[in-house]
């Protein structure tokens, strides 16, 4: 019951966050020089036609009025239509969401499944060959530009080896390469975070207690160390996953995945205010939910965490 109340409270807390973000965003977008009506109709159009479209789009109102109208629309779940394509913003978002979630999920999944064990092992065998190797790997992963890695993968796995499709989202196989590329960064974070956390935990007294009880080193690690090292790692997972939702622009572009990252970037470039606002709001909600889930899981793992605090 308490969990339900806490969840609702957290979701309600998203509202002021979103309002604040959208307010700033709206004003910044309005301030940047561009004339949407002129952009849509082209310069051949007459001044009256441009003025008529501006009026229809509500652009002749003061900024604050436009903002309030927009927010009121959002409350009715009306996010407006794109100024560029005319498609409904919410529909487009919902259309792109499954692919984006799939990409984020697969990218995070493999990175976590691989990264945590590597980090743990590196911490257990600190100063050993594996530890140094994993540090080098982490550095490499962080330094590689994702577009470089993406194109390299495309050339190797598609053109040379013919194992995988280069683009699109037709099947599970289409997500293998994008997940690989997008997850590279997450893998590095996971290794580093779980290693650091594990090193910290291995120095704790309760590990020594476990050994004194007759637990083997491996048993002490598995039963005592790993669980305690998870909280910062889980938080990192949440951060990485959320980052993939709206931030996978390069990967989406190169692998031609119609995702939310490219939707947002293209809208910003085109000053397509309804799409920018709508995407930001909806992505913010998703990220808020992810953070909530992360906090709930952490509270489950570590009983010392008091959600009421």
């Amino acid at each position: 019951m308490y969990l339900v109340k806490y969840t609702i409270k957290r979701l309600l807390m998203l509202i002021p966050v979103i309002l604040g973000v959208t307010l700033i965003l709206y004003f910044v977008l309005e301030l940047s020089p561009s004339n949407p009506a002129l952009q849509i109709l082209g310069a051949d159009a007459s001044a009256e036609q441009i003025a008529a479209l501006e009026h229809e789009m509500g652009l002749d109102q003061p900024i604050i009025v436009q903002y309030v109208r927009y927010i009121l629309g959002v409350l009715r779940l009306d996010f407006g239509s794109s100024w560029v394509s005319g498609y409904d913003v919410l529909d487009t978002f919902m259309l792109r969401l499954p692919d984006t979630l799939m990409l984020a999920f697969t990218a995070t999944l493999w990175a976590v499944a691989l990264g945590i064990p590597i980090g743990i092992y590196a911490a257990v065998k600190q100063y050993g060959v594996f530890d140094y190797g994993s540090m080098v790997l982490t550095m490499l992963l962080f330094s590689m530009p994702s577009f470089w890695l993406a194109i390299l993968c495309q050339i190797l796995f598609c053109l040379v080896l013919h194992w995988l499709p280069a683009t699109g989202v037709g099947s599970l196989r289409h997500f293998i390469l994008p997940a690989l590329v997008l997850g590279a960064n997450t893998l590095a974070s996971m290794i580093r975070m779980s290693r650091t956390s594990m090193l910290d935990v291995l120095r704790q007294d309760y590990i020594r207690t476990a050994r004194a009880k007759g637990a083997s080193k491996a048993a002490a690690i598995v039963h005592h160390a790993v669980g305690n090292s998870l909280v910062p790692v889980i938080t990192q997972i949440g951060i990485s996953f959320a980052g993939c939702i709206g931030g996978a622009v390069v990967t989406e572009s190169i692998f031609t995945i119609p995702g939310l990252g490219s939707m947002l970037i293209n809208a910003v470039k085109a000053r397509d205010v309804p799409v920018v606002m709508g995407t930001v709001i909806l992505v913010a909600i998703i990220v808020g939910v992810i953070n909530l889930v992360v906090d709930l899981v952490c509270a489950k793992v570590d009983p010392r965490i008091d959600l009421a605090a």
């Binding site: 020089p33 561009s34 004339n35 002129l38 952009q39 849509i40 109709l41 082209g42 310069a43 051949d44 159009a45 007459s46 001044a47 036609q49 441009i50 008529a52 560029v84 394509s85 005319g86 498609y87 487009t92 259309l95 792109r96 493999w110 499944a113 691989l114 945590i116 064990p117 590597i118 743990i120 092992y121 194109i151 495309q154 598609c158 053109l159 013919h162 194992w163 995988l164 499709p165 280069a166 683009t167 699109g168 989202v169 599970l172 196989r173 293998i176 690690i221 598995v222 790993v226 572009s253 190169i254 692998f255 031609t256 119609p258 490219s262 939707m263 293209n266 470039k269 085109a270 000053r271």
Partner: protein
């Protein structure tokens, strides 16, 4: 925990190997096994509006779909010439004010309705009233139905390039009855035309699907389904083509195409586009371009050979005036040209008042013009001109362009109006005209009337006016024409009938698998 790592690797390997090998799908698309044949074209610019007559008009990228879903009275061929379309033939009145079109009979719309003169009148009346009307149906006054298959279109004043407007995206004939049924909204969602392909669906950001129209008046198209895939990244387009994910790529950069030399499975073609790449100098707002000596220095200080070598590997044609050779009314003789002469440029520069101010060249980022700007920048710097390149995104570029906020700007003018009149845009003295509201050339009052006279007459009579106008512009060094744009297409060698079209659209009707 130590078992996780090898288990994960095993899983990955299993995924990679256990699934069936990557068939590119191209075999299936050829339709050999009795299924329908299809083709996938990759393009980066996404078409959004599949109906030209709404209040919001439509953009250049939309032409890719529009030119296949609709037919115009006249067709624009790949080389820029006009050929009969839904009109079998036409006549122009003596005074140049009335076009009489004789329409084809037995043409059907996608919903089975018959094409008649009423549809033509509807299209022209509505189109002329919309945002694109003044630019494409220039001087349109009215459309009169003579009989079911004959129309008269009246102009307020003669306009030599009118047929290009008729062939443009605005001229795609729409069905009056269907419009009465569904209105603009409905037409946008489910467009109906007389063209070789039917619109099936558009998935935003992903693809557009077109299906062959069996009752097309020229006969059923060979390719049953056309899928236009939206692929924003150029390298992905080429990799996809090489991998067999795509059958054709729309307008790849020329150097990407030249890398394909020697490959058996991929061909490429290019054609001059209707666009010209020109450097315009700003002669207003207290800028360096106000000084004619400075302008002349720039004019002869640019090595156009070097520019085309760098931007199109030398494939592009160098221009001497701000028009493409394929334009109707292009003056073929009497043109004064300015050759590359760095010494002369230095002399002009010395004679000018230039004292090291920065000379900013505005250009759209990520385009061939940006490359041209950079090459020009280095050439001008050698002459002692402090040139810089300002490459901005689309929206900012438009804003700065219209407000006249630049020292110089390089534009690519891909023009639906394949006519010499296109060069008049920046000298148009009509009050309130968007392009010249903030950008006024001093001698525009002298130059523009020449353009006006040039379009009011037909054929050979136009030439002297354009000669005079262009020579005046050259003399004043208001602009430096650089080169003719190029349209390319890269495609699987199994396809035939693919050709590069000057306006960048494709007639899928001509395509077929070998």
């Amino acid at each position: 925990m130590r078992i996780y790592k090898p288990a994960a690797l095993l899983l990955l390997a299993a995924l990679l190997f256990s699934l069936p090998g990557c068939a590119s799908g191209q075999e299936a698309r050829k339709g050999a096994d009795g299924g329908g044949s299809s083709v996938i074209l990759a393009t980066s610019g996404e078409p959004y509006r599949f109906y030209a007559l709404s209040e919001e008009g439509c953009a250049g990228d939309d032409n890719l779909v529009l030119s296949n879903v609709y037919d115009c009275l006249t067709f624009l061929e790949a080389d820029g010439s006009i050929s009969p379309g839904l009109a079998e033939r036409w006549e122009l009145s003596e005074d140049g004010l009335c076009y009489t079109f004789h329409l084809r009979q037995g043409v059907k719309f996608h919903n089975g309705a018959e094409f008649t003169a009423r549809d033509v009148k509807f299209t022209f009346d509505k189109g002329a009233a919309g945002p694109l009307g003044s630019g494409l149906f220039v001087n349109f006054k009215s459309c009169e139905i003579v009989d079911d298959y004959t129309v008269n279109i009246y102009l307020t004043a003669p306009y030599a390039g009118f047929l290009y407007g008729v062939a443009s995206r605005l001229g795609g004939i729409c069905s009056l009855d269907y419009y009465n049924e569904v209105g603009d909204e409905g037409y946008l969602e489910a467009p109906i035309g007389t063209g070789p392909y039917r619109f099936v669906e558009a998935v935003g950001g992903e693809k557009i699907v077109l299906e062959a129209f069996e009752d097309y008046w020229r006969g059923e198209p060979a390719i049953d389904t056309v899928i236009i895939a939206i692929v924003p990244n150029v390298s992905t387009q080429m990799i996809g083509l090489e991998n067999g994910d795509y059958d054709a790529v729309r307008n790849p950069p020329i150097d990407a195409c030249t890398h394909l030399e020697g490959r058996e499975d991929i061909c490429w073609d290019y054609a001059d586009s209707t666009g010209r790449i020109t450097l315009y100098l700003a002669t207003w707002g207290g800028r360096v371009g106000e000084d004619i000596n400075f302008r002349r220095a720039v004019q002869c200080g640019i090595n156009k050979e070097e520019v085309t070598a760098g931007t199109s590997s030398g494939f592009a044609t160098i221009l001497d005036i701000d028009m493409c050779p394929m334009y109707g009314g292009y003056p073929t003789e009497g043109i004064v040209t300015v050759d590359y002469d760095p010494q002369q440029a230095l002399d002009y520069l010395a004679a000018s008042d230039y004292s090291g101010e920065s000379f900013e060249i505005l250009v759209k980022s990520g385009t061939g013009e940006e490359m041209a700007a950079k090459i020009i920048q280095s050439q001008l710097i050698e002459l002692g001109i402090n040139a810089t390149v300002t490459a901005v995104d689309n929206t900012t570029y438009t804003q700065l362009q219209y407000s006249g906020n630049f020292d110089a700007i390089i534009r690519e003018q891909l023009s639906s109006m394949v006519d010499a009149d296109g060069a008049s845009t920046y000298f148009n003295t009509t009050p309130g005209y968007a392009y010249t509201k903030n950008c006024k050339y001093p001698l525009a009052d002298v130059i523009y009337p020449l353009f006006v006279k040039g379009r009011e007459v037909q054929g050979e009579e136009r030439t002297p006016y354009y000669v005079e106008a262009c020579n005046l512009i050259t003399q004043e060094a208001y602009l430096v024409p650089l080169y003719n744009g190029l349209i390319a297409v890269a495609y699987s060698s199994q396809l035939q009938g693919v050709e590069a079209h000057c306006l960048g659209s494709y007639n899928f009707y001509h395509w077929s698998w070998k």
